[in-house]
Subunit: 333 residues, 2 copies
DNA sequence: GCGACGAGTGAAAACGTTTCCACTCATCCT
DNA sequence: AGGATGAGTGGAAACGTTTTCACTCGTCGC
């Protein structure tokens, strides 16, 4: 009860100008980068402090035609992969003096489309997005007039800058590791609806072929629990090793092994993607590919800035290598 | 190479008006809620479709004086607690047709202050934030003129709407559970810098007193790894049980038990907060308090809307109960 | 049948900035 | 010494909407 409903005297640049005894234009220049004498600048700053002035960003954006905002659209903010990337993007944006609008598409193409409209209306400076497979394909014909960087998936070839894990290489590397440890019957578990899953499946298949082994790739349909598919694979005569294409699937696979009463790595070797804290803490620790989340986020921002600087530069696709973290779940038999 | 650098003919409401053969005001009304005949509305909509018009939100906001945006400030977006809440907030906002600006304060009061300035400049409709302890205290004197809801911490009493877990009750409940399972020597691990940690410590102390047991609360300083404090506690003559105040500390505690060569629950019972997927998968599963993340996020939005509807309504503090999930780590001895 | 009324529409003002333009001086060059 | 130069400043236009205001009708009540 210190102050009843303040009269909320929203103060604008004119009020500051009056307080400082200068023209509004001068205040604007003092706050921005226009030419101004040091004396006046200080005078204005003092007035700003005295009045408690806060610039109206909407007005600023309207006039200057720059939003100073970037859109970040992810498929699921609760997924640690996206969280890590989001964190990096947010930090990079803060350092560059940009705002971030968070869009969680929830893997729903309708939401995705809706958010894309919003980003256009918002006149965002740039957009960083992880499109679903459906949207990624439609992206080519969408005439997005916003500088866009794709993460996690590359989208239509040659149209968008992108930064992503070298999924094929990473999957291959896991297969190589399993083979080196004496495994030959290796089943792969991949998301049917994601490009990332496809890429990892290809890497898996290529590596299997290279080793002269016959692949057994299982694809998990959209709304199916990974655990179910994993369990089915284990019951089809258990393979020697299981490779899961992301952390959710790895988690499902682990549950399945327990349900099936199999011992890791004795009965079954297990490995997958995403080095989440728990993968180290389960018994045995799980061998995984760690994705450089920070680098992906920062890299996306860097690509975006470069694109803004030179809209005509050739499209770049940055592939980062994952780090293979070997733990007990793939110990040699 | 379908279209070389389009001339980027940014089309405005006037262009649509011309295309539809009406006045700009009419277009605005067709898009908004102004009175307009069905015939003209359809005519305008057709023109909008034909021209591919996207409203300029900056202009709209400037004129209408509503940002349609809410700010969400969290201490660390990589923390699953905040991620879960953020997800709920984002979804609620989407349904209400609002944008979300994501601010990750990184537990840095300076960043927090900077972001608060930004929110004011942005003229956000409302703000949902999890302040650090430092900022929470300063909040009283800050003259935030934005409707604000606090989450995770309550802040200065009676000033802000808030929604949070009933931390004391939850901690008590864990103690009760441990006692019921025959434990008497129970050590608590709490974050020194967080209000949440304090509240949980109080609940712990109260419950211990109620059972006539002597408490042993350890506080983890700001930059110290929880594992280190946990290890120290274990070496001071191992207690019968360890209670950790959040998931990071629980993780540290688990690592410490392994390093100390203690078996759970044989040598030491273990429990804590946050029902993350991995707490079920480690051997044995960990007993935890599950926080209703979705409810916290949705609840914060609801409080915010209510506050916007009636700025004079009394301040509300919503306390939600956690759900105790009992697993093997606290099995009776 | 006539005045009041209300719904629907267009013209123009307004929102709070930045930026263009014109202007004033002090300074520099020859 | 005199004109050109350029930095610093103020006035006013401009950004793209929404909203106010005035106006035109068709309709209703009497």
């Amino acid at each position: 009860m210190k102050s009843i409903t303040s009269p909320s005297p929203v103060i604008g640049i004119k009020d500051v100008a009056r307080a400082a005894g200068v023209a509004p234009a001068t205040v604007s220049r003092a706050l921005g980068k226009g030419p101004i004498s040091d004396a006046l600048r200080e005078q204005v700053m003092e007035a700003v402090r005295a009045t408690g002035y806060r610039p109206n960003l909407a007005a600023r954006r309207l006039r200057s035609q720059e939003s100073g905002t970037i859109g970040l659209m992810v498929a699921d903010i609760a997924n640690p992969f996206f969280t890590g990337v989001a964190r990096a993007v947010e930090h990079a944006a803060f350092e560059a003096g940009l705002r971030v609008i968070l869009c969680d598409s929830d893997r729903d193409p309708a939401r995705e489309a809706s958010y894309l409209q919003l980003m256009q209306a918002e006149r965002v400076t740039g957009l960083i997005m992880a499109p679903t497979r459906a949207t990624a394909q439609r992206l080519a014909g969408m005439a997005l007039d916003v500088p866009t960087v794709l993460i996690d998936r590359a989208g239509p070839p040659g149209l968008f800058d992108s930064v992503l894990l070298d999924n094929a290489e990473a999957a291959s590397s896991l297969v190589d590791h399993l083979v080196a440890n004496g495994h030959t019957r290796i089943t792969g578990l991949f998301g049917e609806t994601s490009d990332t899953g496809r890429a990892r499946a290809e890497g898996y298949a290529a590596a299997m072929a290279r080793h002269g082994l016959s692949p057994d790739a299982r694809f998990i349909p959209a709304a199916t629990p990974p655990e179910q598919v994993a369990l089915a694979a284990l019951r089809d005569g258990p393979p020697g090793a299981l490779l899961a294409a992301n952390s959710l699937q790895l988690l499902g696979a682990l549950r399945a092994t327990r349900e099936a009463g199999l011992r890791v790595p004795g009965d079954l070797a297990l490995c997958g993607f995403d080095n989440e804290p728990w993968t180290e803490l389960v018994e045995p620790g799980l061998t995984v590919i760690e994705q450089p989340l920070e680098e992906i986020g920062r890299g996306a921002m860097r690509l975006l800035f470069d694109r803004l600087r030179d809209p005509e530069a050739p499209v770049r696709k940055v592939m980062l290598s994952g780090r293979r973290v070997v733990r007990g779940s793939t110990a040699a038999r």
